[in-house]
């Protein structure tokens, strides 16, 4: 009997230590990443970043996005729905975090489409067809182009534009900012400069709702 009690006490004790450690670690991490974002505000939004929504919108969502990332594809319509539900109150700023193999080329394609004023249609077309051009988590340029047909893009011009050094600089800058802000996974969201406490749609929604309420006049 004594042995059973000892065993149960030990098992419960170990689990409690684990849970307590997890809670302490998580809360410290949230503080750290919030401070990191606070200290490095200038790394969050750059003039070159593509943005959607009014420039003076009270709530700004900064999203580090990889066009080849499945979760980014899944979140895109969710963020768009939030924006549609709160017209003129949310602005979305995209930063590139092409972590997948070959994904930086796809970002260059998007930047080339941007020169023709078709960034968002191109992004949406590529996200919708992601499974086709990014098999096994590897972006394949040869499979990308056909999904851009029908958008009225001059594809020949794009092939020439996408190798421009300023596009390479934009990608390098975004990757550097991602490193400074400790963005290691995509998508990563910052709502009015605040990182998500834990990843997920619900935490993002909660953070956006909070920002919407606090900026309501």
């Amino acid at each position: 009997m004594k042995q059973k009690t000892l065993f149960i006490v030990a098992a419960v004790g170990l689990l409690l230590v684990f849970l307590l450690g997890t809670l302490v670690y998580k809360s410290e991490r949230i503080d750290q990443s919030a401070q990191l974002a606070e200290r490095n505000r200038e790394n969050l939004v750059r003039f070159h970043s593509p943005a959607l929504g009014r420039a003076d919108a009270p709530v700004v969502i900064v999203e580090f996005l990889d066009p080849a990332c499945e979760t980014c594809r899944a979140f895109y319509p969710l963020v768009k729905a939030m924006m549609a539900a709160n017209p003129d109150r949310i602005r979305l700023v995209l930063r590139y975090a092409p972590f997948h193999n070959g994904s930086d080329k796809v970002v260059a394609v998007l930047e080339a489409a941007r020169k023709q004023g078709k960034f968002w249609p191109a992004l949406e077309a590529l996200l919708a067809a992601q499974a086709d051009w990014a098999p096994h988590h590897t972006a394949q340029m040869a499979l990308v182009w056909r999904h851009l047909e029908g958008l009225g893009l001059n594809l020949g011009q794009m092939r020439a534009d996408m190798v421009a050094p300023e596009i390479a600089r934009v990608i390098a800058q975004d990757l550097d900012d991602a490193r400074v802000l400790n963005v290691t996974k995509t998508p990563e969201f910052f709502v009015n400069g605040k990182p998500l406490p834990t990843f997920g749609y619900e935490p993002l929604k909660a953070l956006v709702d909070e920002a919407l309420t606090s900026t309501k006049r």
């Binding site: 042995q3 059973k4 000892l6 065993f7 030990a10 098992a11 170990l14 689990l15 230590v17 684990f18 450690g21 997890t22 670690y25 998580k26």
Partner: protein, 149 residues
């Protein structure tokens, strides 16, 4: 147990305590590994996975031998501990640079020679693993011989 000689019962109780101690070490190691992997989100390398494979089952096998007490549980658990120990020592030598990375099974993902944790300048995850497996083996051997004297 009531029919046993007093000295035999004492021996059995000592053996029980030793195996219980081994279970404590295995459980603490398992929770520690889960903390590194799931809470701190450090990606486990291939060698870490093999060490986990030999550590995690001990958490379940040992209590089966503790209630009711069956010293033979050592015979079932010792091979796991010994293999885990071999992987841990291999990993330790790899990190120390005694074995070149090229002959390890890590070809992609996280290189096993990367030190994700370095406390006080010498405590690494493979060192913790080696200490844990060594302790478990010593406890097993002592429990086995203590009970069968």
């Amino acid at each position: 147990m009531s029919t046993m000689q007093p000295s035999a019962r004492m021996r059995n109780e000592t053996a029980w305590t030793l195996i219980f101690a081994a279970w404590l070490v295995a459980s603490a190691s398992t929770l520690g590994a889960l903390f590194f992997g799931e809470v701190m989100q450090l990606p486990p390398c291939v060698l870490c996975w093999y060490q986990r494979i030999f550590m995690f089952p001990l958490v379940l096998i040992l209590p089966v031998g503790l209630f009711p007490f069956d010293r033979k549980v050592v015979r079932y658990a010792l091979p796991l501990a010994v293999l885990g120990w071999l992987f841990a020592v291999f990993h330790l030598l790899l990190i120390a640079g005694a074995i070149p990375e090229s002959i390890t099974p890590c070809t992609q993902g996280v290189p096993c020679s990367e030190k994700l944790i370095d406390w006080f300048g010498f405590v690494t995850i493979p060192l913790l693993s080696t200490v844990a497996f060594s302790t478990i083996i010593v406890l097993f051997v002592r429990a086995y011989f203590r009970g069968s004297e």
